[in-house]
């Protein structure tokens, strides 16, 4: 197990380096001089030169690159161009809200998606199956900002069950959970739709295997056959989809945070875009990619736990 983990960890290093390089390139493709953009057209050349020096833009591009990579590898993403506060500090301040939202959405996705997917697979081509397939198709066609607005209109403005604004104090746990319900549903329903589809097809494949027939033949109760023998073998594709979906989840969380006016990474990134805060954008992109790389790593490790054959490969 340890060598498996080490191998996977080592394999993610080149990816991380490549991601950092790509981020560096993307931010520098920007037309125009960032110093002039920040200071405006009226700035004197001296002021622009001073700002370039402060931002480290006055040295050759290769020096900038090596400085950026070595700083990023030690967890130093520099300071925001606008507020001058360290980027990690700004991110850490809002991260709990985004983590709340994404984890709750994943929970909604799994809790709704897996049972519905299994149910549909067990009633293949029946009414339940057709309904589940149609609903999941509609669910994954919803742009989250549209489903968010619809939920907001129904449950916050019409019936007034939930609050319109979704931000709460972090240490007031009941309030925090209460305000999380609508945003988490918004973000989670799309995920539930994906998981339903994958669970259904994975269960159909797994239930037609020989070991299922064997389990039934030796008298294992049907419920246990489905939930233990069937689901365990269907779990690999489900885990894959949940892992792949994290990227979409992160993008969608930006939209959800806008609709529900929640603090979080999404609001930070939109703010940074509006103010052309390049160092902040650069830092945020690295952090987002880092999250994706870590999630991929966890997915890989889960494969090893769920299917011991993977570890030998």
């Amino acid at each position: 197990m340890i060598s498996f983990v080490t191998r996977r960890l080592l394999a993610s290093i080149p990816t991380l380096l490549a991601v950092l390089t790509l981020v560096f390139i993307i931010v520098r493709i920007v037309p125009g001089d960032p110093a002039m953009v920040i200071l405006g057209d009226q700035a004197t050349p001296e002021a622009a030169a001073a700002l370039r020096a402060r931002l480290g833009l006055d040295v050759p591009i290769w020096t900038q690159y090596f400085r950026f990579i070595s700083a990023a590898l030690t967890g130093d993403f520099g300071a925001s161009m606008v507020t001058s506060r360290p980027i990690l500090e700004e991110v850490a301040a809002v991260l709990p809200h985004t983590v709340d939202l994404t984890l709750a959405a994943m929970l909604v996705g799994v809790v709704v998606g897996v049972p519905v997917g299994i149910w549909a697979a067990l009633h293949r081509n029946g009414v339940i199956d057709v309904a589940a397939r149609l609903l999941s198709l509609i669910g994954l066609s919803f742009p989250v900002f549209v489903s968010g607005i619809f939920l907001l209109l129904a449950f916050a403005l019409h019936w007034r069950i939930f609050p319109v604004i979704g931000s709460a104090e972090l240490n007031d746990i009941p309030d925090r959970l209460y305000k999380l319900v609508l945003p988490a549903l918004t973000l989670g329903l799309v995920m539930a739709a994906y998981i339903t589809r994958v669970t259904r097809s994975a269960m159909l494949a797994s239930l037609s295997e020989d070991y299922i027939r064997t389990a039934r033949a030796k008298g294992v109760p049907w419920r246990r056959v489905v939930w233990v023998h069937g689901l365990r073998n269907a779990s690999l594709p489900i885990v894959t989809v949940v892992g792949l979906y994290v990227g979409i989840l992160i993008g969608n969380s930006v939209l959800t945070e806008i609709v529900f006016n929640r603090p979080g990474l999404g609001k930070v990134i939109v703010g940074a875009l509006n103010q052309r805060d390049y160092t902040m954008l650069q830092g945020l992109m690295v952090i987002y990619c880092f999250i994706i790389v870590v999630v991929n790593l966890i997915t890989d490790l889960l494969y090893g736990v769920l299917d011991p054959r993977v570890k030998q490969a």
Partner: protein, 280 residues
Amino acid sequence: MTPIRRALMRATSNPTTTAGAIITLLIVAAAVLAPFLAPYDPTEQDIIARLQGPSDEFLLGTDQFGRDILSRLMWGAQISLTVSLGAIAAAIVIGGVIGMVSGYIGGKFDLIVMQTMDVLLSFPSLILGLIVVALLGPDLINLVIAIALTAIAPFARIARAPTLVLKERAFVEAGHALGYSHTRIIFRHILPNILSELLVMGSLWMATAVRTEASLSFIGLGVKPPTPTWGGMTRDGFENILDAPWLAIFPGIAILLLVLGLNMVGDGLRDATDPKLRNE
């Protein structure tokens, strides 16, 4: 019967696919015929008629500037469809070529190219689109570039896998023996074998592209106002949600319908071309 015709027949015999195709075609028709059918000028303001609910005069009501929602939706469909079609066409061509060439050449080159594609895949796609549009500036061409960029890697993967198998086949070897150039073998002999797969995937990705374009315009990074975009209209409606909820509801439904229609068509085409499902 050719495989494509057989797949089309299978696809049209499925009610979901047919329904999806009808929804999509109706929206395409509304977009194309907008200059003739739209009851009003989509950018003409009428301050006296602002924020009106649906009525005989304005079927879907008016927005905060008194502009007719129905007309704006019809014109907005043009933007959604143009941007998505442009982005996906670009992604199919660029991703397809990258995937085929990479798989055909193989070896270290293939390894490096595919690693690069994996890096591109590890960016959350909406965030990548967001940053690219914000850096390049929000206009139609840049939206196409940004959305294409998020879709190139998956198409490269889809094109590469069958190329790896096809390049070992006898007909490719025969091409080499006849002295055909690599370009000719790739585009005349390998491409026709993977084209249907790329196009099916393209129809599914069209749905994603429409959603991404709408999301970017909702954030404020779409084609600039006063040009109507569905995402931008939803945003305007959202800002007036207490006074005029229909302002956000109608464009929201329009986006949902187009994405749903495209997904239904894409699903049907995929099932119809999937060899695993062929004998069901």
